[in-house]
Point group: C2
Chain length 438, copies 2
DNA sequence: ATGTAGGCGCTACGCCGACAA
DNA sequence: TTGTCGGCGTAGCGCCTACAT
């Protein structure tokens, strides 16, 4: 066979009983992705679910798809179950969630208490590198960033010349991959050589994709991939029309809503434009406890692509932001690692970038099909001209208004020791009443 | 990059406006697959459609999927449009059909006239070979069966030593592939060498898969693949649950039936256990004009897998059969080619095998969800013990009862010159009132 | 007639520093 | 610190025939 399967021990795919490591899943999903806690109450948006299908099939929802008047634009649900999976073909991570719409009485109750969810397990001791052309070329191996190798790879025996060892890493499907890890060259550097190229070709990695290494609790090295945002990764839909898919999720939600019975959805964070299962508390806070109006300034988090970040930094017009989950990350990492706060904060900051914009309108995204929906009800204009491909509409819970004053002061006095770059808006305090979201 | 793309000229996938060659599509779909004629009336079976999803997602339809009482088990439809496609990733062929349920009055009319469909264009001048281990190994090229090369490849210039030429073939996506075609060795043979291996690796072909070459009307060489029946080709459904998919097709059909509006379905002949869009005439004939009863013997066509055929032939218990469309094939080929009838018939026969069995019962497959459905209403027992994986239930239009006498004599007196193998049931006449069905 | 294997030339895979950036 | 390149040794790709079935 052409594609060598050396180092690849096939697993029975049917079973899939093995539970995917949660931290590996989150690492592959990306830093901004969070899953609501099992047992908590969430809000489900058929529109957002539909957008995931549209983005995957690369086809907009057709006009002749019937309306579901009985299906409200948002469904308050009990989240019964969440399981993490990875696509057999692509290693894309996705989550399966079992939702149960609340009955009318429960829905009323839902607005009363502030629900405390548990923050999702964000990985702590891992590293993620975006592959360069050299990394994916057949000419050589993989250049390991120095700090990453020292942080997550087992220490080398430096009495050897050159120092080297065999690394065994398990991917999302529990297949083993073996790599030769060597420390050589002038100046000295960490490299993965033998075994690397078969991995690259088997996973069909290209420059721009990312790989990440992480330890599990059983002291095993895990290995995940995060593919670059392809222009469009067309899903093979040779078996069901995209229209039927749209209808399918609507019908499933409508039936569940009508009977208050459970239904199942798949959330693919890399394929979906936005999260469409939101913690109830986050939704309530954004919709009922935050005042927004046209003309208001806001900011919103995005995942980093190195290139754009550097460019923006040079232009001096990007605000880095720390919020919500990051606090959890920082605290836990500071406890575990003996690294300086500032260094750690800057490490984490490197994964995010926030863009600023102005609210230009508040209206229904689809007044016919989904009147009075909060999904993408906010029309926005982005500051950067480079943000041409950003969504012109966002949902309230995705943005952070800037003109409202912080209601509480931060419990975690984050102060940068170096001066705040001139021309940037001042950091405003981090709210502590985040209600446990994320 | 690891996978060389030499000989691969990328096409814009978004457009997909180019129309797929019909004969190539049918060649890839296999000899038993036929598409109803555009404009004709057909019967659509939600159950069969559901089976296609189940087979693709490798997941049975869940019990908690709601019923669609308003959706009958079969829908008589006008077939407005049929387009042929091929999966970008796998080259799997599939068809997109636009159906419109007939209103009640039209439904009644439908049972009156016998509708004459046009037989689908089955390829005539082509060849198909199942790849051997040598064909797919990196050690060498592709061994072209002699008759195939002489029939479909351009004639070689035998003044050259050795005779050789460059073949250019276009795949289902109109990508060009170049192969060196050479006639050498002792004894002499046709081989594809340079260019073959990149094709094998790009298409990820393995031993057991088939390739086929065919000419289009513009005198271009076309190239398709037919993958072996993998144990299960799990569809990447990281974006929509199989439950939602089942619901989706039901909802689409129910909505279309309720409003007599058009809907769209995908038919993937290699993934679907059975055809679920049947020419109306074929349905009517099988259901209303054929008497079947428990204990009756029947036979049914299947596609050939060489190995099983050889084994069965040795056991002397297989009946090869010619029926319906085959007549069309034979006649057109005899006109075009100057090959003897017997030779041609035996060539075509090699693509089919029919298994025999006994009807053991007639009942609803799913009495709760789909009462009074003709879908797989016939419970059968197969003669061969090797047919353990065959469906225990079939539909009336899939089988050919043997105890009924032929209603008409054959217009095409097919007589084998060699004696009919002893122990085999006698050939019965071929019916001419096939109403254009395939 | 055609699947497989041995022989063997040569491409390109992949391991190594040397350089910048 | 790390991306890319020139260098090179060699595994294995791929073209040929021989042989068996």
């Amino acid at each position: 066979m052409r594609l060598s399967s050396a180092g690849f021990s096939p697993q029975p795919p049917e079973g899939e009983k093995r539970v995917l490591n949660s931290e590996l899943w989150h690492a592959c999903a990306g830093p901004l992705v969070s899953l609501p806690a099992v047992g908590s109450r969430v809000v489900y948006f058929p529109q957002g679910h539909s957008e995931q299908v549209a983005a995957s099939t690369n086809k907009e929802v057709d006009a002749h798809i019937p309306n579901y008047p009985s299906l409200p634009p948002q469904l308050i649900c009990q989240l019964h179950n969440v399981t993490m999976h990875a696509d057999i073909e692509t290693d894309e991570v996705y989550a399966q969630m079992t939702l149960q719409p609340l009955n009318p009485q429960e829905q009323k109750d839902a607005y009363l208490p502030a629900e405390l969810g548990t923050p999702s397990k964000q990985p702590t001791n891992y590293f993620c590198k975006t592959l360069t052309a050299s990394d994916t070329s057949t000419h050589g191996g993989f250049s390991v960033p120095r700090r990453a190798a020292e942080k997550v790879f087992p220490p080398l025996d430096f009495s050897l010349q050159p120092p080297a060892q065999e690394l065994i890493a398990r991917d999302l499907h529990d297949n083993e991959w073996k790599f030769r890890h060597i420390f050589r060259g002038q100046p000295k550097r960490h490299l993965l050589t033998t075994g690397w190229s078969v991995f690259v070709s088997a996973k069909r990695l290209v420059a721009g994709d990312s790989v990440l290494f992480i330890w599990n609790e059983k002291n095993q090295l895990l290995l995940g991939i995060r593919r670059a945002n392809r222009p469009q990764t067309v899903m093979p839909s040779s078996v069901l029309s995209s229209d039927s898919m749209h209808l399918g999720l609507l019908a499933a939600a409508a039936h569940a809503a009508a009977t208050n019975s459970r239904f199942t959805i798949f959330y693919n964070p890399r394929a979906s434009p936005s999260e469409f299962v939101i913690p109830l508390a986050k939704y309530i806070k954004a919709v009922y406890h935050t005042r927004v109006s046209v003309g208001m300034r806001f900011r919103m988090l995005f995942e980093t692509e190195e290139s754009s970040v550097r460019r923006e930094l040079q232009m001096g017009c990007v605000v880095k932001d720390v919020k919500n989950v990051l606090l959890h990350n920082i605290e836990s990492q500071i406890e575990r690692l003996s690294v300086g706060k500032l260094q750690l904060v800057s490490m984490i900051l490197d994964s995010y970038v926030s863009y600023m914009g102005t609210i230009t309108g508040i209206s229904d995204l689809d007044p016919v099909r989904w009147p009075n929906s909060h999904w993408r009800s906010v029309k926005v204009g982005w500051d950067e001209s480079t943000a041409g491909d950003r969504q012109p509409r966002v949902s309230l819970w995705e943005i952070e208004p800037l003109t409202t004053f912080p209601m509480y002061s931060s419990p975690f006095p984050l102060r940068l020791k170096r001066p705040w770059p001139p021309g940037l808006p001042a950091f405003h305090g981090i709210k502590e009443d985040d209600l446990g979201m994320n």
